[in-house]
């Protein structure tokens, strides 16, 4: 990975939510990078910090509570953590766009679909497009996601869930962003529509050459769409690699193993699935050693005391004590 190709470079990013009563450690020292045109899958349980990471990238953390405590996010050569709000607004929607999780709530019920797609275009109208040109672009975007442009005068309630998600995607794509963050874009949809929407996202990404961060807890989606995969647990990236590293390789973080074991497999016959026992640690009070140690079946003494270092092998890196030990032996 040469530096020139990196469009997004996150270094040692930590984010907390601070209230009067407690401090929630949502993201802890995440280091990630993304090349132009590549897709990164961000996998993890609910509460692992995936959405917080995405919101931090957009600088949309809740103002009064969410704070970045350390690290940097370099997007196209600029550290966006220090950018003034006015400049950040120019990036949002234009350079980095986000597809939201729930199409039922992320569209404004009193504005027509066309007006909502046109909004980002109007806000980022540096080239001085005329009204007609914006309308034409709205039509074009709608066609792109497979909705007849004539429906742009309709309101969100006149669309089905799958169609609404297309509208949400159309909004994100309207300005042709360099980076698209898809925050569980299919969780609110049923399976057949899921497949359609995923196909479409993948198709559009390839056609427009957009980089993408796909946040999901569905490993199937990751296998279908992503070049690189990062597994998140309790605010840390515990395993990072190419899709082959994660899906084909045998060496894994025990948590990733657990994730795969809890999925039904078509080929082997199992009577029961094996869930990972226990719950995520309380993010206000994280274990001092490895964050996964309390639930880990291969937990050792050192895991409870010392946070593990990253073990790297080619493109594949794992944050676990197990592999450091095997290397020493």
């Amino acid at each position: 990975m040469s530096n020139a190709e990196k469009m997004l470079d996150i270094k040692d990013l930590s984010v907390v939510y601070k209230t009067d009563l407690e401090t929630v450690y949502a993201v802890n020292g995440v280091t990630l990078s993304l090349e132009k045109g590549a897709t990164l899958g961000l996998v993890g349980e609910t509460g692992a910090g995936k959405t917080t990471l995405a919101l931090t990238l957009m600088r949309l953390l809740p103002e009064r509570t969410g704070k970045v405590t350390s690290g940097s996010i370099t997007f196209e050569g600029e550290n966006i953590i220090d950018l003034p709000e006015a400049q950040m607004r120019k990036i949002r929607g234009d350079k980095i766009a986000m597809i939201f999780q729930d199409p039922m709530t992320s569209l404004n019920p009193v504005l027509t679909v066309g007006e909502q797609i046109a909004e980002a275009l109007l806000v980022h109208n540096e080239v001085g497009r005329s009204k007609e040109e914006i309308e034409a672009r709205v039509d074009e975007t709608l066609t792109l996601v497979g909705i007849p442009p004539a429906r742009k005068r309709e309101y969100p309630h006149q669309f089905s869930g799958g169609m609404r998600q297309r509208v949400v995607i159309a909004i994100a794509l309207s300005c042709e962003p360099d980076l698209l963050i898809a925050d569980e874009p299919t969780t609110a949809l049923d399976v057949t529509i899921q497949a359609q929407v995923l196909m479409m996202i993948r198709d559009l990404r390839d056609r427009l050459g957009t980089s993408m961060i796909m946040i999901t807890h569905d490993l199937g989606i990751v296998a279908q769409t992503c070049d690189n995969v990062a597994v998140m647990y309790a605010g840390e990236i515990i395993e990072l690699g190419t899709a082959e590293d994660i899906f084909a390789h045998t060496m894994h973080h025990p948590y990733t193993d657990g994730l795969f074991a809890s999925l039904p497999n078509l080929k082997s016959k199992t009577a029961r699935l094996q869930p990972i026992t226990g719950l995520m640690p309380d993010p206000t009070n994280l274990p001092k050693g490895c964050k996964f140690a309390p639930r880990c079946s291969r937990c050792m003494e050192i895991c409870k005391e010392v946070p593990p270092e990253v073990y790297t092998e080619g493109t594949h890196s794992i944050r676990c004590h197990l592999f450091h030990q095997s290397k020493e032996n």
Partner: protein, 302 residues
């Protein structure tokens, strides 16, 4: 995967764009408004009242309502004085018609200005929250702790009575409702995902308030405006009833009521006409406002 493919993601069976013809937004609202009988009655009455206001000079001469004629004192209905004369010998019809001008102008202007002022403050308080919210709401508490009438009296007494002063005084008495109403609406809305989505699209706070939050609270605002127009018509009558409105000879519904009260036993109709005018105006505005709210809500469509 094939790049640069031109295949549409979803194609219709014959490969053509399906044509959805929809009537325009305004036509649609008007169509639904027309179906609402109550609203149409309200609209009709309101148009009549507005026509009276515009053509007041053709219906009855202004002088007849201001100049006192001793021999006409409490004159009964007659061809020259269709609604009779009051205790000063002034023509009731011309007072009523010209009074509509003063009463309605002040009421409508005050409700519009109190709406604009209150909504702006409420939206700012709800959207930004924190210290700004605190400051606005506590100032509002102080405003609300002073009785409306007392407050208006102080303002009118300090600035002397004229139409602009009346409008300001009534605005200050009525804008508090809007602040609280809009603020609570906004508090519900700022957490909505589409507001976050708009922010993710790069929209500024002002834009989000104007294009996302205000349209969503428009329903309640609109109903409140119409309720307020009617209560302001009544409030203005109250003010002129206690003599706080325009100086003496100027015709006004409220002052007509208060002067007619003295002769209520001898000429009961003198009370009825201005009272009827106040009630009819309030009623028609209410009806229309209710209908408009229903017609403008896109969620009630189809």
């Amino acid at each position: 995967m094939a790049k640069n493919s031109t295949r549409p993601v979803v194609a219709t069976l014959d490969g053509e764009d399906i044509n959805f013809k929809r009537p325009s937004q305004t036509k649609e609202i008007l169509r639904r408004l027309r179906k609402n009988k109550g609203a149409m009655i309200g609209l009709f009455l309101l148009i009549c009242i507005v026509l009276v206001v515009i053509f007041a000079d053709f219906i009855a001469p202004y002088e007849a309502g201001v100049v006192q004629v001793a021999e006409n004192k409490l004159a009964p209905m007659s061809p020259e004085h269709p609604l009779g004369c009051d205790s000063y010998g002034r023509d009731v019809l011309s007072r009523l018609v010209h009074g509509a001008r003063n009463s309605l102008l002040v009421a409508v202007a005050a409700s519009i200005s109190s709406c604009l002022f209150g909504c702006t403050l409420g939206a700012i308080a709800g959207y930004f929250g924190g210290k700004i919210d605190m400051l606005i709401m506590r100032a509002l508490d102080i405003f609300m702790s002073i009785p409306d009438l007392l407050f208006t009296m102080v303002v009118v007494a300090a600035l002397s009575s004229s139409i602009p002063v009346l409008i300001i005084a009534m605005t200050l008495a009525y804008f508090t409702n809007y602040v609280r109403l809009v603020r609570s609406g906004v508090l519900n809305l700022v957490d909505q995902e589409y507001v976050e989505a708009a922010r993710a699209g790069g929209s500024s706070s002002a834009r989000i308030i104007i294009s996302h939050i205000i349209p969503n609270t428009l329903g309640i605002i609109l109903v409140n405006v119409t309720l307020n127009v009617s209560s302001l018509v009544i409030y203005q009558s109250t003010l002129s009833f206690i003599g706080l409105s325009l100086p003496a000879p100027a015709p006004e519904w409220g002052s007509m009521l208060s002067s007619a009260r003295v002769d209520m036993m001898r000429a009961p109709l003198l009370v009825v006409f201005p009272a009827l005018a106040i009630v009819l105006t309030a009623f028609s505005v209410n009806l229309l406002g209710d209908g408009l709210r229903d017609a403008m809500d896109p969620r009630l469509k189809n």
